[in-house]
Symmetry: C2
Subunit: 323 residues, 2 copies
Amino acid sequence: MQITILGGGGFLGRKLAHRLSAEGSLGGRAITGLTLFDLAEPGTLDAPFPVRCLAGDVASAADAARAIAEGTGVVFHLAAVVSAAAEADFDLGMRVNLHGSLAVIEACRKLSAPPRVIFTSSVASFGGGQSALLPDDARQLPGNSYGAQKAAAELLLSDASRRGMLDAVSLRLPTVIVRPGRPNKAASSFFSSILREPLLGLETPLPVGEAFRVWVCSPRRAVDWLLHAASMDTGPLGIDRGVNPPGLAVSVGEMLAALTPAERALVKPVPDATVEAIVGGWPAEFAATRAKKLGFAPQEGVPAILAAFREDDLAATRAERGM
Amino acid sequence: MQITILGGGGFLGRKLAHRLSAEGSLGGRAITGLTLFDLAEPGTLDAPFPVRCLAGDVASAADAARAIAEGTGVVFHLAAVVSAAAEADFDLGMRVNLHGSLAVIEACRKLSAPPRVIFTSSVASFGGGQSALLPDDARQLPGNSYGAQKAAAELLLSDASRRGMLDAVSLRLPTVIVRPGRPNKAASSFFSSILREPLLGLETPLPVGEAFRVWVCSPRRAVDWLLHAASMDTGPLGIDRGVNPPGLAVSVGEMLAALTPAERALVKPVPDATVEAIVGGWPAEFAATRAKKLGFAPQEGVPAILAAFREDDLAATRAERGM
């Protein structure tokens, strides 16, 4: 089976590629080739199958067609402009998050067999805010451009699935913590920083109060979900291709409680109304009943999330940051 | 105030233009000019203000910008490829229903003041089917490409409103009956035919059973709603720019009961699984509580709908069809 990862140079794309490489197969079928596609050409990786690395613009029909070549069986569509960046630059967000997804549909429908497409949508496509516990059939009423673009792309991917052009599963990923590396432009970046930076011995600002609640998952569990979505039977989904995977509802205070007192002292309250306005609109919890029935594994607690970061990413993050 | 009607050559666009002409003002402000835009250049009409008639492709940035010139205060965006046609020709539906709406956003955001945009969305953007009574916060889970394209456009128009690029109200119009003229490519076309054709003394097929229920409104009431949406205060809408106006839930049998026995005998059962598959997925009833609070007038019963057709359209339809 040929696999393509769009956004293959990003943090989740790299982790996914390494898992595919380590496992050598997906859903019991041997992987015969992997394409990593991103704006800048992704570095290659050791794998028991050929790895093709491509640079391109996902919103370009020609580039998307190169990335999704004849014979592609699975497309992980992770290419995105994140929340605060899409809010700051409307045209860029529209181009990548909406038109990029349209280019993916166009590339997929030209293949002789419809590929499975795993699309990373987001909790930012919902409203509801801090007091919300969203049922599986909650409507998407986004209060930010990123969420609107993701929700619109979901609708069009669902319709393309119904028409047999492709076979999509849209995962509305929770906020992924702990991200390795450095803070990025996502409004949710601080949810990782408040754990990662103290572990590195660094101070970090906290833009919201400790009672603030958030729906999270670890990168490791996000990759589990991506792989499950790639190999599951999509028959039970019917026309409803959006899945709210079973993340963890947690408060900032509960996250900080997993740190040592010395580490915790490095987290400094610096209220930021702009950041709070974005993340404060996202629902803090989902029922995720359907996803559990579909076999998506629930996220364990904060200690497991921290342990995964220590095992998978802490050393690499130190090295990357010259520490 | 300058007004543009996209789809100004269509049946609803013409009716709207005539109402604007008859009233001369909208929401208490004098109309200073009207642009009618359609694929084929719309015929002009007598009006107490200048009328500009344009032919163009709504999905073309240049054509949309010509239609929505500087100074435009209100845009009625009725340009669409209807349900069965969008199902039969995916590319055409995407072009007009999705990319056309994107071109409208682009044209509007270039104006020095954000115009009110009234977008005709559809009940086809919802699932639910015959047993449904949809609340105002029901999610849009369309089972057809037309509905998916309309729902995606709604999301992007809402986001553009939130960003201050325009000021949208998306009306999810019920099935509009009785349409004048001839049957068209909408899957819902028969809901008009079974009343119009017998009034003309003609036989007509009925593709579903008499117990089949449908959510309807008259063209006259649809125009009332368009005008109300153009002049209402949009503050109470917040980020939720989609409105389910208060249509009428009625069965085919109840519709036919408004005909004389001789007229009714002209309606011949001819089951059509393709048509039933499309219209059978649409919800048969909505709560429409929010719309009533917002001042949208409820649709009266079938006799009022038939009376409106007799008064407004029967003679013209006879003439058009050479009868």
